[in-house]
Subunit: 431 residues, 2 copies
């Protein structure tokens, strides 16, 4: 039985109990939403070392880190350290998007190393194994089954990109920017056939139900630039994703929906609310959105800004974007910057939404700031090592004594330090 | 006469004409708003090489870079290169916040080097010169007059922090975090006297009118952490700032209002709208706001997120924050990161508000992306050097040929490149 089926029978599983504790909610609160499909707990029965995590609009906003090699870059060792970094800085889930060699063994290593839920995009392994011209049903199903047996917690399946939508996408400035989407569109046009994942959806559901794989309904038609945002192609696919959500729920399979992409700030709210309505409030898992197109090198930041607003308006999970987006495959440092940027975005939204247990960290670091307790500040920082490094650098570039105990920083020095002046004023009772 | 006085007489100055061209508006559009005080054009009659810039809610969102040494850090040469970097990456105005030695000569060098409006906080020079216990009116006035004569385009004056507000601020978690605010509060409490800038406000207006110095009405009581946001102290001072705006307008002196600070996302809109109402829609010049307290080392990002939302809800200018905020004095690289982060924030808001001439850059870079025109992409990037550096790094870390002409990046490689697949599909007419 899947977590959804247990929840529907009123059984509180250890996974649900764990999520409830992490979210400072009752198990019943979580179970009710898992039963309804507005919260998912990706937990493949074969992912042995999993620490389960709940994903849903009302829970803490989650962030995912995409890892994996490409045909041109990276090796198993590099992916191992990227995974360690992603987990260290707080990625809630990770996806292996490898498209290069050794996909099965990279995934196996990741599953063993990662207590966080692991997601994949099976079409990559299908193409890596059989090429991009053969999407026969038995091949699709065998790859999905292998991955499910191995313990993959959630899978992106681009089943909503129907053949009739392809012409809508080709009218765009940037066409189809989803890798899976573009591969499928090319195949459908060449073979004049319907989307093979859509055709095989019932068989896919069967596998997902058996291993409790959560389906992440992929948005193959997400906009790749501001000019393409919120267009006919995007929303046509969203309608189909909504239908698929209900087919998943009928089959007892957990499902979330993937979302854009590049979207200007003024369209984010509308996008979030539309998904909620069309997809029965299924958890919305968004990539960014990237709010401007002209800042390559800083897209972790650009997408983090959009992600913050997406979460504020109802997205449940944010897929990180790294500084390398639009430029190349991220390395370990890019992974760190991407994860931290998205932890910031998620936390900013959660604080603004007054989710339980979120603001405490900010209040604690502010207390430490008032007391000049630098070590406590570093400890409470989302990237402690980086905060410490920058303070050390500033001290080294100054004439201040090089130690962390001092009651000021090099921005103002002791004479102009407002926190110091404030503390003295408070001590004197404002007299 | 000041720009405001010219505008009120219906005279279109060269400065107004220049701003109109830069904003793709008519000179009358700008002049009307300068006359009303909802747009300011800081343009000291003695800043000879100035290229004027308009600041107001309806114009492109401007960003300011704070520069200047502290008693512990930096030297004139370092400040010179920081200024060059700030201007290179697009700072619309710069402030010299020096509190260490040689303030007058650093300012002189900056004025000569900077075609962007230069702002200062005169209380720093007063304290550096006379210590923090002597705010006699003649000393205040002489420093302000010297700076005005020298050519400073706008000055932050903390005249709104009345003595009766100090106890309200001392109730807070972090008290008073504005340097100027803390210095004045300490002096007022010790001497049991009213704010000396408030007392000398008429004389200050006289100087500002003579040289056309724009007043930037400082928020000495801005909140320094989420817990202190939108409190009684902050809004009491804002009410006084509103009164001062009207005194400025009566005197023909241009004025803008400074704003928070640390503010959670859900309070930003309210803060922007309140200023507009209380201060007669005077341009709001905000510092951040910082939307979470727990990400030292990334506060350029955290404040950029808040700044984007502030601009979206009506702020006119964003004061940048650098990665060193809360940790130390920014160095040249911090200045670059801060400026770029805030250019992103400002542009994201401007695009969402459909301001004239803003989205074009995004559409052009998206066209270049579709064509794999890497050089054009770099050229249109907000930080071209960094985008190029990251792509080069990715290529070097891969087995791809190390050149920019290739029709893919190392993220996907040629076989999985969606842009490449899309282009082929488009070419085949989707058949």
């Amino acid at each position: 039985m899947t977590q959804m089926e247990y929840a529907r029978k009123g059984i509180i599983t250890p996974q649900i109990r764990h999520v409830a504790e992490a979210e400072l909610r009752t198990p019943e609160f979580i179970a009710e939403r898992v039963a309804a499909g507005t919260v998912v707990v990706p937990a493949n029965i074969n992912h042995k070392n999993l620490i389960p995590c709940g994903i849903g609009r009302e829970l803490r906003t989650k962030i995912n880190a995409n890892l994996g090699n490409s045909t041109l870059s990276s090796c198993p060792g590099a992916e191992k350290s990227k995974l360690a970094i992603a987990l260290h800085y707080g990625a809630d889930t990770v996806m292996d998007l490898s498209t290069g060699g050794g996909i099965t063994s990279i995934r196996q290593a990741m599953l063993e190393q990662s207590p966080a839920p692991l997601g994949t995009v099976p079409v990559y392994e299908i193409v890596a194994r059989y090429g991009n011209s053969d999407f026969a049903k038995d091949k699709i199903i065998s790859v999905i089954r292998e991955q499910a047996e191995q313990g993959v917690d959630y899978m992106t399946i681009h089943a909503g990109l129907l053949r009739q939508y392809v012409p809508l996408a080709l009218k765009r400035k940037l066409g189809i920017v989803s890798r899976g989407g573009a591969l499928l569109a090319a195949w459908m046009q060449e073979n004049k056939k319907e989307n093979p994942f859509y055709e095989a959806f019932d068989e896919i559901l069967e596998i997902c139900r058996k291993y409790d794989v959560t389906l992440s309904l992929g948005d193959g038609l997400r906009p790749g630039c501001l000019a393409d945002a919120s267009d006919e192609a995007q929303f046509a696919e969203l309608d189909t994703l909504g239908e698929l959500v209900f087919r998943c729920r009928e089959a007892g399979v957990q499902a979330m929906v993937e979302g854009p992409g590049h979207v200007p700030l003024d369209q984010i709210r509308e996008n979030m609310e539309r998904e909620r309505k069309v997809c029965g409030d299924a958890p919305f898992y968004i990539l960014g959105p990237v709010v401007i197109d002209c800042a390559p090198g800083y897209d972790h930041f650009v997408a983090g800004m959009g992600g913050m607003m997406g979460a504020y308006y109802g997205a449940a999970m944010l897929c990180y974007v790294t500084p390398k987006e639009h430029l190349g495959l991220p390395n370990a440092d890019d992974v760190r910057r991407g994860v931290v940027a998205f932890k910031i975005a998620a936390h900013a939204a959660d604080v603004a939404l007054h989710k339980p247990g979120c603001r405490e960290r900010d209040d604690a670091i502010s207390d430490a700031r008032a007391l000049f307790d630098w070590n406590k500040q570093f400890e409470l920082a989302l990237d402690p090592e980086w905060a410490r490094e920058l303070r050390t650098q500033a001290l080294e570039e100054s004439s201040a004594p090089n130690q962390h105990g001092s009651e000021y920083c090099t921005m103002c020095g002791p004479d102009f330090c407002s926190v110091r002046l404030s503390a003295r004023l408070k001590k004197s009772g404002g007299q």
